[in-house]
């Protein structure tokens, strides 16, 4: 392992994934079709001349409110679900309370299925089952997110040092009290940090669900794009950007206030051992958290009322259409190798573009003081912009296919990884880079040698995690750009072919579970070998 990673050396590692640019750039000219450059120009111009029609803004704000509300409700529900399920799937907890960890294993396995299926598919499935109702989007977010939170919570819990717990138990404390006292406080920072990150994700997911007609701003974005009303589109986008940046700032501030570790092991894997916190500090955090929780509950109720979310609607199922004769045989006769290969290619290209693209772009703009600001804006737009919309926009000038889909998906994830890269660069510290600059080294090489060396492993570890997320997300652009399992899924959905759908979902789940396992191994190796 050490050999494999010591050559090429650390600073180059974050850039290696960018090698996928070569084949992409090679193929790209052949994909360009004549028509749409004028439209792209109009689109770009509209960015600085958005519509300021008060009626439009009012309706956009309303849509934004719905999107934010869906995100908040889905997130809160997923957090509650995830915490419960996370505790229920912790090996340690079961061992302490019942003497066996078998139930934990069983629950873990069960949770793999809801986790492996993207929230958009949950949304579309629930849409078919329940019809167009506000509760659908909330549930679509809550189910996969809940399962994801559960996994993170149980992983964090099982990775905690058990020494304090043993000590309490040996002193005669009952299991529940000992668990709460010994594991509660060290678990908290990790959970809150991850919870904040999930809220940011929930806003992106809610926007995406809107694009597919589940309510909120997303749908208006899609309609304005399809009707080429770019100025109206940009009004919505800027509003959404403002909300997203506000949320990210607030989450970041709260994370710092409550002494959060960097997310996903940029500063080591497990939750940081907060040794030096003064007593008053700990008390303050607890009180503030309690207050925040108490304020959140009525807020959730109000939002639920405003969105007319009615949990009772979950009971009104629509009957499924009958399965066609020979349906199962047809399902098995789908072109599986092609579908799977398409999905994997899409994932690899998009992951390479996103993981390698961010450090490459940062290097390119290194000499210019305003370069990083421009990149930050571009990356914020990437995070905000749902990949299907990017794909639609790209289709103005590119032919549909795996490259177009990969560009759309890559751009979105580039935004997420870029932000993380900057956080990592900040954490790596300026000393080495400054030393190189003082010795006359150019700004790009100083950044490469001085900063990328230190952040390479943790950044790539996050990249591995992101590749796993991208695999899940392939279905999102596949639905639009016609590649991989996603495109077939769309056909089966619109044809109500439940048999095909079931097999497709199974294949998709299997693929993402394998991907998750591989990405976990890669992360452990990258972080463990440091």
């Amino acid at each position: 392992m050490r050999l494999a990673l010591s050559r090429p050396a650390a600073p180059l590692l974050p850039l290696l994934p960018a090698l996928v640019l070569l084949p992409v750039l090679l193929v790209l000219p052949a994909l360009v079709h004549g028509g749409g450059w004028e439209l792209i120009g109009q689109f770009a111009w509209a960015a600085i001349t958005p519509s300021r029609d008060p009626l439009l803004l009012q309706s956009l704000l309303q849509g934004l409110g719905v999107t934010a509300g869906m995100a908040l409700l889905g997130w809160a529900l997923s957090l509650a679900l995830g915490l419960m399920l996370g505790l229920a799937s912790s090996r340690l907890l079961w061992r302490e309370l019942c003497g066996t960890s078998l139930p934990a294993e069983a629950i873990r396995r069960l949770l793999a299925l809801p986790r492996s299926i993207h929230e958009l598919i949950w949304g579309l499935l629930l849409l078919q089952l329940l019809g167009q109702r506000p509760v659908v989007a909330v549930l679509a977010i809550a189910i996969p997110y809940g399962a994801l939170v559960a996994r993170v919570v149980s992983d964090l819990l099982d990775a905690l040092p058990t020494g304090p717990l043993r000590a309490l138990r040996a002193a005669g404390a009952a299991a529940p009290a000992a668990l709460l006292t010994a594991l509660g406080p060290p678990l908290l920072p990790g959970v809150i940090s991850y919870g904040g990150y999930r809220l940011e994700c929930a806003l992106r997911s809610a926007t995406l669900l809107g694009v597919f007609g589940l309510g909120g701003l997303g749908n208006e974005l899609l309609l304005t794009l399809q009707s080429l009303q770019f100025q109206e589109l940009w009004s919505g986008l800027w509003l959404l950007l403002a909300l997203m940046l506000l949320l990210e700032t607030a989450v970041g501030a709260l994370r710092r206030r409550w002494a959060m570790p960097g997310r996903f092991g940029l500063r080591g894997t497990g939750p940081r051992r907060t040794g030096g916190l003064a007593e008053a500090e700990v008390g303050r955090r607890g009180r503030e958290l309690l207050l925040a929780g108490l304020l959140l509950l009525p807020a959730l109720l109000v939002v639920g009322q405003a969105l007319a979310v009615q949990p009772a609607e979950l009971l009104h199922w629509q009957p499924l259409p009958p399965v066609a004769p020979r349906g199962w045989a047809d399902a098995l006769a789908l072109p599986w190798p092609g579908l799977v290969a398409g999905t994997l290619t899409l994932m690899l290209l998009a992951a390479g573009l996103a993981v390698g693209g961010a450090p490459l772009l940062l290097l390119l703009v290194a000499p210019w003081p305003w370069g990083q600001r421009v990149l930050q804006l571009l990356w914020a737009l990437g995070r905000l912009w749902p990949p299907p919309l990017t794909a639609l926009l790209l289709l103005f000038v590119l032919k549909p296919g795996v490259i177009t889909a990969a560009l759309a998906l890559g751009f979105h994830n580039l935004g997420i990884l870029g932000r993380l890269l900057l956080e990592g660069a900040e954490a790596a510290g300026p000393a080495a880079e400054q030393g190189l600059l003082a010795a006359g080294c150019g700004p790009r090489l100083a950044l490469l040698y001085g900063r990328y060396s230190g952040l390479a492993r943790s950044y790539l570890a996050y990249g591995a995690y992101r590749a796993d997320v991208i695999l899940r997300e392939t279905v999102v652009v596949g639905l639009v750009a016609g590649t991989g399992l996603g495109s077939q899924l769309r056909e089966s959905l619109s044809a109500f072919a439940w048999d095909q759908l079931a097999v497709l979902l199974l294949a998709y789940a299997l693929l993402t579970l394998v991907g998750e396992d591989l990405s976990d191994r890669a992360r452990r190796r990258l972080l463990g070998g440091a």
Partner: protein, 260 residues
């Protein structure tokens, strides 16, 4: 300000001083970190910078290597002010070599890659990237290691595998690889045991023959022997600047007298 010309400063006036500071002012929180500091460093001079912690030694070195721009005052390197144009500025920086207190080795790279990092100012991208893939300029690197009494077999080692004393020497070898004319060192002996400290100081002094010059901040006045001149900093001001043999115990006592 007290400003006495050292003996060599008056004899070497054919070429401009390698470093000249005039009336440098750097503001600080409660009092200026540097106030009205002036000094000159002629080729071949080895100058020690003395002073208690917080007297402004590190700040002065940061001004001298261009990392910190003073609020007021002039810095001249070989008679020239800080270049405006980026390329010229880089060439100017490449002639200033710094031995950092925290060494600033790149922990993830091998000894050889670290030594070659000193050449990045002169190298273009192809060689900079190649350095991360294959061993480059092994002979020059081995020679740099030999100059600091290290075994060339260390070249392939990661710097994390070295001892503290070895790391100091690798940092010095990297400085030599840079081929600077002005050598600056910020407390390079602080974390070394007496024997290692004496060895390293000896190496540094040997490297600083004309046309080079050395400015080194020192926390131990007992090691002054090899220096031509000593400059005493107290509370951001130059207390004395005189030949090192003329630094009397009374002067030192005043320099380190309780900070208030």
């Amino acid at each position: 300000m007290v400003r006495m010309n050292g003996p060599s400063a008056s004899t070497h006036h054919t070429s401009p001083p390698l470093l000249e500071l005039r009336e440098i002012q750097v503001p600080g929180r409660s009092r200026p970190r540097l106030e009205g500091v002036s000094l000159e460093l002629a080729p071949g001079e080895r100058v020690a910078l003395l002073g208690a912690s917080g007297a402004g030694k590190s700040t002065l070195l940061a001004v001298a290597n261009g990392v910190l721009a003073p609020e007021r005052g002039t810095v001249l390197w070989q008679g020239e002010p800080r270049a405006r144009q980026a390329g010229r500025r880089r060439r100017q920086q490449a002639r200033i070599g710094t031995l950092w207190q925290d060494l600033r080795l790149i922990e993830e790279l091998s000894v050889q890659q670290n030594l070659n990092a000193a050449r990045l100012a002169a190298w273009g991208w192809p060689r900079a990237v190649l350095n991360l893939l294959v061993p480059l300029e092994s002979e020059a690197c081995a020679m740099a290691l030999q100059q600091v009494d290290l075994d060339p077999t260390l070249l392939s080692q990661p710097v994390t595998a070295l001892s503290g004393g070895q790391r100091q020497r690798v940092a010095l070898a990297r400085l030599l690889r840079q081929q600077p004319s002005l050598l600056l060192a910020d407390e390079p002996l602080a974390s070394l045991d007496p024997r290692l400290a004496a060895d390293l100081l000896d190496l540094l002094l040997r490297q600083a023959a004309a046309p080079r010059a050395l400015l080194l901040s020192l926390h131990r006045p007992d090691l002054l022997a090899g220096f031509d001149r000593a400059i005493g900093l107290r509370a951001g001001r130059v207390l004395f600047d005189r030949p090192s043999h003329a630094v009397e115990p009374a002067l030192l006592a005043e320099l380190y007298a309780g900070e208030s």
